[in-house]
Structure formats: structure tokens, C-alpha cells
């Protein structure tokens, strides 16, 4: 397992992408979705990756989470006291590392339909073995309270609204208390009011010290990130001057 103790570095990035290229092959030919991405994310950042459909946003996120394999380049993550070259880990090691160090939230929530909300949140703790079963349960309830749906703890996902399901997905992403949260269009299938509430949750998490990388196609959300990048045709392009933000914490 390619885990190393963090070397002394005056300004260590939490997430570091070096020349990341991803090419898909098909009978129709090769298609390069990411064309040499360089990116550093600092602890406590709320990074928004904004781009149109097909720009490579989700692919970039999959490179960071290790869900998909890169064609060339490297992704290094320094979390939980260890430095990891994500794509040198085996699938198995990657699963355990991801479960402990990174929470992932998807647009389609991806809750297991047969488990209650509480059980969905306990599941990562159960699989990663960081918490005692009794502690897992207590913690899961706390997380449900944090996302304000504790009263539905014993319901199945099908019986709550989309916004509530996304809150559960966020709570599940936080189950093992990872330093990093990665979210792929988390508000994409929600109405604007609900989406706003979900965004509030993310912002409060950043305030509590979490680092969040979120992709979205909604340009309107850009002011709410502490930093954002525009992804166009697999390349990071400089943000338009009018929208660039230098402040680490934008106003709502």
C-alpha cells in the first residue's frame, strides 16, 4: 500500500493532482476527457469545479476519489496523517482508505434502499471498523441530528424527499469523520430552495474544518465557493475576471 508518513513541507496541499490525463477508448476512437490537469487543494478549502455537461467534471472527481483509473499523471492526498498516491493503491486498499479519509456525495444520493436512514449511515462505520457498533449508532444519530432529519432515522429512503435523502447521503459521507468531502452535483436533482439548504450544510461543514471539492454545472453557485475552477473540454481555464474571487470565504 502506497502510504507514506507526511514529509515536512512548509505549505502542504491536502489534494494534489499532477498532469492528470484520462483517455477513454472505444470503437469510435479515443477520447481524452482530462488533458493534463494540475490542481492543489488546501485544507479547509471549499473548491467548486464548474463546467458544462461533458467538460470532464465528474471524470476529474473520479480521479480524486480513485473510483476511475487515470491514464497518466498522479493524484496525491495527504489526509489522516498519511500521504497517499491514490492510483498506486489496489482496489481493495483504495476502498478502505476512501472509506476512512474521504466522503463522497452523488447527485443521485446512492442510498441503499433496503436499509433505514440510520443503517445507511452506520454502514461505512461497520465496513471500515473505526467505531464500536454501539458508538457507530450514537454517532449516526448525531449526524442525522446535524443534518436535521433525526426524526426520520428509522424510515427507508423511499419514504423521504429528495432533499432529505441528500442530507442523509451527506451524513453518511461524514460517518467515518473524513477530512475530505467530494460531491458530484449534489444539488443537481433538487429544487432551488432545497438545494440552498443543502448548500448551507456544506458551508457549515467547511466552517467546522472539512475540505470540500464539489463539481457543478451551475455557474450561479460560483460565488459561494471559497475558490472555483472552470473546466472546459478537459482543461482548467482561467475564471472570468468578473466572477473571480480572491476571498477565502464568500458571502452567501
Amino acid at each position: 500500500m502506497a502510504l507514506q508518513p507526511i514529509s515536512p513541507n512548509p505549505n502542504p496541499a491536502l489534494i494534489e493532482l499532477k498532469d492528470v490525463v484520462k483517455t477513454y477508448s472505444s470503437e469510435a476512437g479515443d477520447f481524452t476527457a482530462l488533458k493534463g490537469i494540475h490542481l492543489q487543494v488546501q485544507p479547509g478549502e471549499f473548491l467548486g469545479i464548474v463546467g458544462k455537461s461533458g467538460a470532464g467534471k465528474s471524470t476529474l472527481l473520479n480521479m480524486i476519489t480513485g473510483v476511475d483509473r487515470l491514464t497518466s499523471g498522479e493524484v496525491r492526498i495527504r489526509a489522516s496523517g498519511q500521504e497517499v498516491s491514490v492510483h498506486s493503491l489496489s482496489e481493495n486498499d483504495l476502498a478502505l482508505w476512501r472509506g476512512r479519509s474521504m466522503g463522497v456525495v452523488y447527485q443521485s444520493f446512492q442510498l441503499l434502499p433496503m436499509l433505514t436512514l440510520l443503517e445507511n449511515i452506520i454502514l461505512p462505520m461497520d465496513l471500515c471498523g473505526l467505531y464500536h457498533p454501539r458508538e457507530s449508532r450514537r454517532r449516526a444519530l448525531q449526524l442525522l441530528e446535524m443534518v436535521e432529519i433525526a426524526e426520520h432515522a428509522h424510515k427507508l429512503p423511499a419514504y423521504i424527499s429528495g432533499g432529505q435523502q441528500q442530507r442523509v447521503a451527506i451524513a453518511r459521507a461524514l460517518a467515518n469523520d473524513p477530512p475530505i468531502l467530494v460531491a458530484d452535483e449534489p444539488t443537481g436533482s433538487l429544487d432551488s430552495v432545497t438545494a440552498d439548504h443543502i448548500f448551507d450544510v456544506f458551508e457549515s461543514l467547511v466552517q467546522k474544518g472539512k475540505t470540500i471539492v464539489m463539481v457543478t454545472h451551475d455557474m450561479g453557485l460560483m460565488p459561494r465557493f471559497s475558490r472555483h475552477l472552470l473546466l472546459t473540454d478537459g482543461e482548467i481555464s482561467p475564471p472570468p475576471a468578473s466572477l473571480s474571487s480572491a476571498s477565502p470565504r464568500p458571502k452567501k
Binding site: 477508448s25 473510483v67 476502498a95 441503499l112 461497520d126 465496513l127 471500515c128
Partner: protein, 811 residues
């Protein structure tokens, strides 16, 4: 419960149809193995235990008449523990109210109270008959209806009748245990014999040995010595010697062989059901890809996922065991009861057979684990990306070295076929094309389904072929049963005399007197090898149509020559036509030449044919005979039966001492009846394999439809009506059924040969010529069409019922 185990628990009941399918497919295999293994153990144990408990005679001698005083001289013969004399003869009986005669074996026992050999178990009424009373062996009740206290009418050889009262019902598991087709037995005391015009003399010896009661060679020697004492010491001819071990039922090897065949089919069912389990689990894993992806996303590792799905399989196994083990136990006992009843022994009581229980547990647990291993390993190793995108859904595509998707062989074949049709201007309806393409989309699933259905079909067809093969063999044996009536007398009559009287009966075409000799074939050391009955029709007889398989048939002018059944090769494997056999006939040792072999069913000793001309002189019965064959103008069994009755009456009325008049086909019918039982068992197993095959197809169609819910929605959105969607699914099921039928057609050929070989060895102790019948092929074709239509109708209805909104929302 931890969430992952709770997920396993909930997955178990998530889809009830699928759960039932998996549980039933495991249960069918466990059940059939449980029934057969259980019956095997129960019968193996109880058959011999029940037999041994009744003190079976190790030695049975059929002799000329002798008295009590002479019997007393045998009690001190070397190594004889117990010896009893009895009188056994054929007699006809009927209930008072009935006019239908039944041929019975009447056994007169000297002392019921101090009976020490071939013990009787009293079932009802008295255990000892008084004078002019009879005890009925319970099998008599299968032939005629009688109860304790009823009167039975017995017909004596002079045509007069006597009435005996039924004093009790008994069971005799030992007498005639090697011939379950022999006539049932009635027991009387010796002092009842005079009423039946029989002398108060014995004609049978039943003896047990002092030592080595399970040592075949030792019993043979003791029997030879005993027979020698009777012949040399007392001048009592010994016609036939039979020996038996104490602790082995004479039919145990045959029953075990038949159970062995059923066991082999049971194992095959397990094998087939395992492919069905593999298929269903692969589909389940496929439907759970997203769940696996999510679990891996939040930290689940391969081994955790693997353990979860293994636990799920185990749970399916446990549910199947809960269902199949109790029924398997009951089935095993019922099967044992049936066999015990047929063969006339008792079981030691209902019980759980540990061996069968362990085998069922092993099959129920390990077969699903084995079958599910590959799908579960594949499912647990899938990457998060593939899992979340459901990328396994496109099984037909292969990938090149660079990971690019390529057309599979099937896809290329389809394209080639489409172009071929187009070039010839043939336009298949689009829905039919979709059905055909859908059939080949999931090749692994298709192959497993085809495998199960093909094997099921091939066995089904093979069983029909085996049935025809067996009956064809019986028809061939029928060549030796051309005569329509067999007329036996208690004493010899002149041929001309019998022929003249018989021909007075309208319908009689021809009459032949046959000579008959009961001889013993000896090993070179002088001990008994086989009992042999020589039938000697006149040379060129019209009453048999012999078909020797080696050498030639006996012909006019032959002396000391016989054609013998292949059964003799058991004792003399190297015997060839032209070789000689040492035989003992009426106390004299002679040397006979074997001129040829023929195929026959060897029951109660072997059969050989000689010429009347020689054997009638040999038995001092020239121009006379005790046994006649009559040919009539019609050959159906009812006609034969009627003619037997008429001839019986005519000869008795004329003062002849008739022993019995039997329809010619009756002996054959009895043997055919026992084959029918075997065929029924084989058919039950064949039906079970067919059921497993059909379950496989139902499962496959269900899974195919479920996975294509979205496609169906799209088709509905662009205008496909219910009937169209149903037709597409049903045609797909029938295409699979049709392919499996064609494959089953081919596979049934080796299966037929294999099964015929095993069955004929078990039943006839000789391989027989295989005969094919279209019946099995046609029935299976009809069945497979119906089954595949039925298997697709439910999934098709479900598919057609879904609304567009539902299917497009389907995940």
C-alpha cells in the same frame, strides 16, 4: 444487527419469486438425494435385517417325497443346525363368492409351533392353522379378496374342490425371497394334506448351517453333502438345490443396483440445479451492482462483500434444507415402504437416517456455495465505477488489448445472418428479430439455461428409449412364449391322448408335449454352480421362435446338447458354443454339450432348451409328457385366459389330473409388471430433471425481462402494445426451448446407451440391444414448447403490465 448483515437478511426476501426459485432449485436436488440416499440406507439395512430375523434357510432342496423318519436322519448331518421338511405344490383357489381362480403355492408345515427355519410373522388372526384351515401370506390379498374367517375354495387336480377356512394372515419374508414374482403362498398343516388329495409326505428340505451362515462356498459344500445323503443314503432324488446367505436378502444386489441408478439421476438433478443456482445468483449480483458500488465507495472491501453474498447463499441453502430435509426423510421412508411391500419384508420403523441427513446438509450447503462462487467472486471484485454504472449489463461485448469494446462472435453471427436474409429479400418481422437477438444477449446465462434444459430433456428422452428397449427385450423373450396356453398335469399323459382332447376345443390350432428336466450344473469340483431347467420341445417346434446370440439352436438328432441362456456366463465366464458342462440329472452326473446361447430373463435358475426326442427318453417319458403347449387361433391375453379356463375344465372333466392351465403371456406379464415399476421410478426422476430445466428457463426469462424493463418502457413509449411485448418475450423463451430440444435430441443418444447399459445389467445381468422410440422425442418437444411458453408468460405479463412511467423510472 449490523447494517451489512441486515442488508443480507433483507436481500434474502427482497424478491420473493427469485428467492423461491433459488430455494426450490436447491431443494429439488436435496430432496431427491435425500429420498434416494435415505431409502438406500433403510433398505440396505432393513431388507437384510428383516430377512435374517426370520431365520432364512441357507439350503433349500426340492426333492422327491420323503417322510418324517427320513427327515430325522438328516438332523445329525454335519454342520446342519436346523432342518425342516415341508410339502410345496401349486394349487388354484378362489373366494366362495368369486369365480376367478388364482394360482397359489400351498406350503404344508409340519409343526408351526416349533418352526425354526423360514419363520412366519403373524399379522392378523391365528398364528397356527388348525386342520382344514389355512394361513394366507399377505401377498395373497393382492390377488384375491379374503379376510380372517372367510372360506376359500381350493381346486384339486381331479377337478373336485375343498373348502378351507382362513385362520390368519402372516408374512413370510424368506420363502421365495429371490423371486418376488412367484405365486403367493398359503400355509396349512400336514394333516390338512389328505383333504387336498396330497400324500402326507415332504418334498422340500429347508435347513440352516451351524457355522459359516454367510459363507457362500461353505453353504454350497454343506448343501452338496446334504443332497448326497438324501440321494445315496435314502434314495430320495434331489431335483434342485438353492442356497442363500443369512444376512443378505437374495434380491439386495438388484435393489441396490436400481437404487444406484436412481442415485445417479439424483446427483444429476443436483448438478443441474446448481447451474440454475449459478444463473440466478449471477443475475442477483448483477441487480445488486449498484449496492456493491455504494458499499465499496464507503469503504467496503472485496472480502467483506464476498462474505455478505456468501452468507446470502448460505441462507438460501438453509431455507432449502428446512424445506427439503423433512420431505426428503418422509419420501425416503415412503419409497422404502413401497419397495418393502413389493418385496415382502418389513421395515424396522420410521427414522432419520444420519447418512442421508449429512449428505443432504452437504448438498444443501456446498452445492449452492460451489455454484455461487464464481458469480460472487466476480461481483465482489468489480470496481466502483463499473458497479455504479452497471457496466456488467453488456456481457456480449468483448474488449481488445486497449480496452476497446469489440463485437462478439454472436454479434458478428447475427449481423451476418441479418445481411444474408436481407440479400435474399427476406424481411423478418422486427419484433421477431428483437426476440432472436435478445435470446443471445446474455451468453453465459443462455448457455447455463440451455445446459439445464438440454440435460433435463436428454434424460427425459433417454428414459423413454430405455423403456422401449426393456420392453423390446421382453418382446424378444416372448419368442419363447409363443404358446397361448401352458397345460401342466400332475402325471404324464400320452401325447396323442392330450392332443386329441385339446383339439376338440374350438380355437385350438396345435398341441405339443414338451419334455422337462430339472438339473444342476456343477463346478469341476462337483459343487452346485447353477440350477437349470431344461425345456425340450419337439425339434422344429412352432411354439418357440429361437434367436441364438452365439452358436446355433438345438436340432433334430442332438443328444446331450442344449442351447442355454447367457446367464450361465456368470458361473462360467469362458464358456463357448461347443464346450461341455457337467450336470446332475436325477442323481446321475452327465456331460452335456452347449451348442448355443440365447438371451432370456433368468429368474429362479437358468433355462436351457433341448430336443423332446432326446430328453423324453432320458426322463423315461417317450411319447408322453406332463407339460403341454397349446397354440390357439388368437393370441391376446384375455383370450388366452379364457382358453386356459376352457382347457382346464375340459381336461378335468375328462378325468385328467390337471396341475394348472396358464395363459402363455402370464409369466411375461408378471416380468413386464416389475419392469413397469422401474420405469415409473425412472420417469419420476426424468420429470424432476424436466422440472429443474423448466425452473431454469422461468428464472432466466424472469431475469431477462427484469433487466430489460427500461427497454420495454422505451418500446412502449414508441408504440408497442401489450400483445407485442408479450409475444416478444414468449418467442424468446420458445427459441431457447427449441434450441434445447435440438441439443437434447443429440445428447439423448449417448444417454440412452449409458442408461440402457446400466439398467439392463442391473435387471437382466446382461447388456441388451438398445431401441429408440420417437415417443420420448415428441413428448419432450410438446413439453418443452408448453414449458417454455409457461416459463415466459409470467415474466411477459409482468413486463406488459408495467406503465411507461414505471419502467423508465426503474433503476
Amino acid at each position: 444487527m449490523r447494517p451489512r448483515w441486515r442488508k443480507v437478511f433483507l436481500d434474502l426476501f427482497e424478491n420473493k419469486t427469485r428467492m423461491l426459485l433459488v430455494v426450490f432449485s436447491i431443494a429439488v436436488g436435496v430432496f431427491s438425494i435425500g429420498v434416494i440416499a435415505g431409502a438406500y440406507v433403510i433398505i440396505e439395512n432393513d431388507m437384510s435385517a428383516s430377512y435374517a430375523a426370520n431365520q432364512p434357510a441357507n439350503i433349500e432342496l426340492r426333492t422327491a417325497d420323503f417322510d418324517r423318519d427320513f427327515l430325522a436322519t438328516l438332523e445329525n448331518a454335519p454342520d446342519i443346525a436346523e432342518v425342516e421338511g415341508r410339502r410345496v405344490f401349486n394349487i388354484r383357489a378362489r373366494p366362495l363368492q368369486s369365480q376367478v381362480w388364482t394360482t397359489l403355492n400351498l406350503v404344508a408345515v409340519d409343526d408351526f409351533e416349533n418352526n425354526t427355519v423360514n419363520l412366519l410373522t403373524s399379522l392378523q388372526g391365528a398364528s397356527e392353522p388348525a386342520k382344514r384351515e389355512a394361513l394366507l401370506e399377505r401377498k395373497v390379498l393382492d390377488e384375491l379378496s379374503a379376510a380372517v374367517g372367510d372360506d376359500l375354495v381350493f381346486q384339486l387336480s381331479d377337478g373336485s374342490t375343498q373348502v378351507l377356512r382362513v385362520a390368519g394372515i402372516v408374512q413370510d419374508p424368506t420363502t421365495g425371497a429371490d423371486d418376488f414374482l412367484a405365486p403367493p403362498i398359503v400355509y396349512v398343516t400336514m394333516d390338512t394334506l389328505p383333504y387336498l388329495s396330497q400324500p402326507e409326505a415332504f418334498n422340500r428340505i429347508y435347513a440352516t448351517v451351524e457355522t459359516g451362515e454367510n459363507d457362500d462356498a461353505h453353504i454350497r459344500l454343506t448343501a452338496a453333502d446334504l443332497a448326497d445323503r438324501m440321494e445315496r443314503g435314502g434314495g430320495v432324488d434331489v431335483y434342485r438345490t438353492r442356497i442363500a446367505l443369512k444376512n443378505e436378502h437374495p434380491l439386495a444386489p438388484t435393489v441396490n443396483a436400481v437404487l444406484g441408478i436412481l442415485m445417479a439421476l439424483g446427483i444429476l438433478i443436483v448438478f443441474l440445479s446448481s447451474s440454475l443456482i449459478a444463473n440466478t445468483l449471477a443475475a442477483l449480483l448483477n441487480q445488486h451492482l449498484r449496492h456493491i458500488g455504494v458499499m465499496k465507495l464507503v469503504g467496503g472491501r472485496d472480502n467483506q462483500i464476498f462474505a455478505m453474498y456468501l452468507a446470502l447463499i448460505l441462507a438460501f441453502g438453509v431455507l432449502a434444507l428446512l424445506l427439503a430435509v423433512p420431505f426428503g426423510g418422509i419420501g425416503a421412508y415412503q419409497l422404502s415402504l413401497y419397495i418393502a411391500d413389493q418385496l415382502g419384508f418389513t421395515l424396522l420403523g420410521y427414522r432419520i437416517v444420519p447418512f442421508s441427513f449429512v449428505i443432504q446438509m452437504a448438498v444443501g450447503i456446498f452445492v449452492p456455495l460451489f455454484a455461487g462462487f464464481v458469480p460472487v467472486i466476480n461481483g465482489s471484485r468489480i470496481t466502483v465505477l463499473d458497479a455504479l454504472s452497471g457496466d456488467l449489463a453488456h456481457e456480449t461485448a468483448t474488449r481488445d488489448a486497449a480496452g476497446r469494446r469489440r463485437e462478439s462472435v454472436f454479434e458478428r453471427l447475427e449481423n451476418w445472418f441479418d445481411e444474408l436474409l436481407l440479400r435474399r429479400g427476406i424481411h423478418l418481422p422486427r419484433p421477431l428479430l428483437i426476440s432472436l437477438r435478445n435470446t443471445f444477449r446474455r451468453q453465459n446465462r443462455l448457455l447455463l439455461t440451455l445446459f439445464t434444459l438440454t440435460m433435463g430433456g436428454a434424460i427425459f428422452i433417454a428414459v423413454f428409449n430405455v423403456r422401449t428397449t426393456l420392453f423390446d427385450y421382453m418382446d424378444n423373450v416372448g419368442r419363447y412364449f409363443v404358446a397361448d396356453v401352458t397345460l401342466d398335469f400332475d402325471k404324464p399323459y400320452r401325447l396323442s391322448e392330450v392332443e386329441r382332447l385339446a383339439r376338440q376345443e374350438p380355437g385350438v390350432v396345435d398341441v405339443e408335449g414338451w419334455a422337462f428336466a430339472a438339473v444342476e450344473v456343477l463346478y469341476p469340483d462337483g459343487t452346485l454352480a447353477e440350477n437349470l431347467t431344461v425345456l425340450a420341445p419337439p425339434a422344429g417346434s412352432e411354439m418357440i421362435s429361437p434367436d441364438p446370440v452365439a452358436g446355433r439352436w438345438v436340432q433334430a438328432g442332438d443328444t446331450r446338447s442344449i442351447a442355454i441362456t447367457e446367464g450361465i456366463l456368470r458361473s462360467f465366464p469362458n464358456l463357448k458354443p461347443g464346450d461341455y458342462l457337467d450336470v446332475k440329472i436325477a442323481g446321475n452326473e452327465e456331460r452335456w454339450q452347449v451348442v448355443g446361447f440365447f438371451k432370456f430373463i433368468d429368474r429362479e435358475g437358468l433355462i436351457a432348451y433341448g430336443t423332446y426326442e432326446y430328453f423324453s427318453r432320458e426322463t423315461n417319458l417317450a411319447n408322453r409328457s406332463v407339460s403341454f403347449r397349446v397354440l390357439t387361433d388368437q393370441h391376446a391375453e384375455p383370450y388366452q385366459r379364457a382358453m386356459s379356463e376352457k382347457l382346464d375344465k375340459r381336461f378335468r372333466d375328462a378325468g385328467f389330473q390337471v396341475s394348472q392351465a396358464r395363459p402363455g403371456l402370464s409369466a411375461l406379464d408378471n416380468a413386464t409388471e416389475s419392469l413397469d415399476i422401474l420405469v415409473i421410478f425412472l420417469l419420476i426422476m426424468a420429470m424432476l430433471t424436466a422440472v429443474v430445466g423448466a425452473m431454469g428457463l422461468t428464472g432466466t426469462m424472469g431475469m431477462n425481462v427484469l433487466e430489460r424493463t427500461r427497454e420495454i418502457g422505451i418500446m412502449r413509449a414508441i408504440g408497442a402494445v401489450d400483445a407485442e411485448i408479450m409475444r416478444m418475450v414468449i418467442v424468446e423463451g420458445m427459441v431457447i426451448g427449441g434450441i434445447s430440444w435440438l441439443l437434447g435430441l443429440l445428447l439423448s443418444v449417448p444417454f440412452t446407451y449409458l442408461l440402457s447399459y446400466i439398467v439392463s445389467l442391473a435387471v437382466f445381468e446382461t447388456p441388451i440391444t438398445v431401441v429408440f422410440t420417437p415417443l420420448g422425442y415428441l413428448i419432450w418437444l410438446a413439453l418443452v414448447i408448453v414449458l417454455s411458453a409457461l416459463a415466459s408468460i409470467i415474466p411477459a405479463r409482468n413486463a406488459a403490465r408495467l406503465t411507461i412511467r414505471e419502467v423508465l423510472a426503474y433503476e
